[in-house]
Amino acid sequence: MMAKVTFIQPDHRRRTVEIENGYTVMQGATANNIAGIKAECGGACSCSTCHCYVETTWFDRLPPVEDEEAGLLEFAWEPKPTSRLTCQLVVTDELDGLILYVPEQQL
């Protein structure tokens, strides 16, 4: 199974990619060379360079933020209440249609 995930760049360019269930949104982003998702630690929850803003209606449908992720997000580049690290979002059928905004920078 795959989920369609849309990334919207700061200049409003959109790209929708298909990510296989079980992979993280971050892995889907790097596999498709989505600009602005640096994902430097490769998904070890050790940086914050896969940070995205989740479209508001989607935010509450995601699994909750664990403390480790919360700590990194607090100091990510311009965090918002809808911030998430995409390495912590594992793709399931429920995520089909997910919309994410890529921040202007990553720290």
Binding site: T30, N32, N33, E40, G42, A44, C45, S46, G71, E74
Partner: protein
């Protein structure tokens, strides 16, 4: 004829550089030439989740093989480069074939330093740098068997943690007076010694290996103060940059391939990046060589940008991490040269941060289970701030208020 940008090496830096070349809009040919049979992959999991078997091989790959097809990036894997003919702009492969390049990126990485003692070539004695190395070690990580780890750096400690979790009997030998001597303060060394002892790892410092015993396979490690039973030995005593190719092509080298802030070598058509590069860093105000994912990724991007004539300088504060048991160590900056230490928080409270200061300026942090302090320092350290030690030490002062 389209322009050809070649990348020698197929590690993290090479993979990033190729992806970045496409992001920069380069439409010519890209070829990645690597000695290993794998598409560019991440090395950190090799001593962590991949080694313990929690991460399948395809998740270790930086990007799926399909990515390279989709982006028209040619992969020449299992292929060794034996020479560069700079005047002809040619790469010579081991089988004698030659490949043309217009611009070349050397992302040749580094190789484990070898221990030079009798018996070191016995089966069962391993280094850990590649997927093949990890796969060689994996079947021998068996409960009740004896593992001897040589070297108390991050690789040795991470392998020890994995093995202890597999209920092996682990002995770690460090030739220095303490583990992590080159990279961290004694507080951090002590913390990790305690952590590993709690998990049954026997850490011995000032322990010099004299030779290995065994006929078919290694069976023992002989030190100055006796013999240690061994079914498996993993050696992690540092890495050295792969500069032979650059050197034999007459490019200036010295603890790495010498590049400028644009990752450009003395030859304007040749760039070098990642573990193998000796580069200037304006934020650290010195030249250095770094062995880290962050450096591999960021230099890969810088080199790619400059191969596309974007004039981008490399200026990054290094960061690193290590996972051992349920402890996550996150590091920003380089601690070398510090003259003051400040601790914030205590392990009993779940985690702590150790700040390194030099002349009152915050230069580095080791954060243990403490992502907030770590992230805050990623912003603070590049600013070279003087921060009062008593404020840093006071957990009631928010990290947001330090600047």
């Amino acid at each position: 004829m389209p322009e050809v940008f070649a990348v020698v090496g197929a590690g993290h830096c090479a993979g990033q550089a190729a992806a970045s070349l496409r992001q920069q809009g380069f439409a010519g040919d890209i070829v990645i030439i690597g000695e290993e049979p794998h598409v560019p992959y991440q090395r950190p999991p090799l001593s962590k989740k991949f080694l313990i078997g929690e991460l399948p091989l395809e998740r270790v790959y930086l990007r799926p093989p399909k990515f390279y097809r989709d982006n028209n990036i040619e992969l020449l894997l299992d292929t060794r480069v034996v020479a560069l003919r700079r005047r002809e702009h040619e790469i010579v492969l081991a089988d004698g074939r030659r490949r043309h390049y217009d611009k070349l990126l050397l992302a040749t990485g580094s190789s484990p330093r070898r221990l030079q003692v009798t018996g070191v070539d016995l089966p069962g004695i391993c280094y850990l740098r590649t997927i093949a190395d990890a796969q060689r070690i994996q079947p021998h990580l068996r409960a009740e068997k004896n593992l001897v780890v040589i070297g108390g750096g991050y690789i040795g400690l991470e392998v020890s943690a994995v093995a202890a979790q597999r209920r092996m009997r682990v002995t770690l030998l460090e030739v220095d007076g303490r583990i992590l001597n080159r990279v961290a303060a004694p507080v951090i060394s002590d913390f990790f010694v305690q952590l590993h002892r709690q998990h049954g790892v026997d850490i011995r410092c000032n322990a010099r290996v004299l030779r290995f015993e065994g006929s078919e396979r290694v069976t023992g490690v002989i030190c100055e103060d006796g013999r240690i039973e061994a079914d498996l030995v993993v050696i992690g005593i540092g890495i050295a940059p792969n500069t032979e190719l650059a050197q034999s092509a007459g490019l200036p080298c010295g603890n790495g391939i010498i590049v400028d802030e644009y990752c450009q070598t003395a030859d304007a058509a040749i760039f070098a990046a990642g573990d193998c590069s000796n580069h200037p860093n304006p934020l650290l105000q010195r030249r250095l060589r770094l062995e880290s994912v962050h450096n591999a990724v960021e230099q890969g991007k810088t080199a790619a940008a400059n191969m596309c004539a974007k004039g981008q300088r490399y200026a990054e504060i290094p960061w690193f991490w290590s996972d051992q048991y349920d402890v996550k160590l996150q590091i920003v900056g380089l601690a070398a040269g510090y003259d003051q230490l400040v601790q914030r928080g205590r392990m009993e409270e779940g985690g702590f941060a150790l700040f390194y200061l030099k002349d009152g300026v915050l230069i580095a942090v080791d954060a243990i289970n403490n992502p907030r302090e770590y992230m805050a320092c990623k912003k603070l350290i590049p600013q070279r701030l003087r921060i009062a030690p008593e404020r840093l030490a006071d957990p009631t002062v928010a990290m947001q208020d330090m600047a």
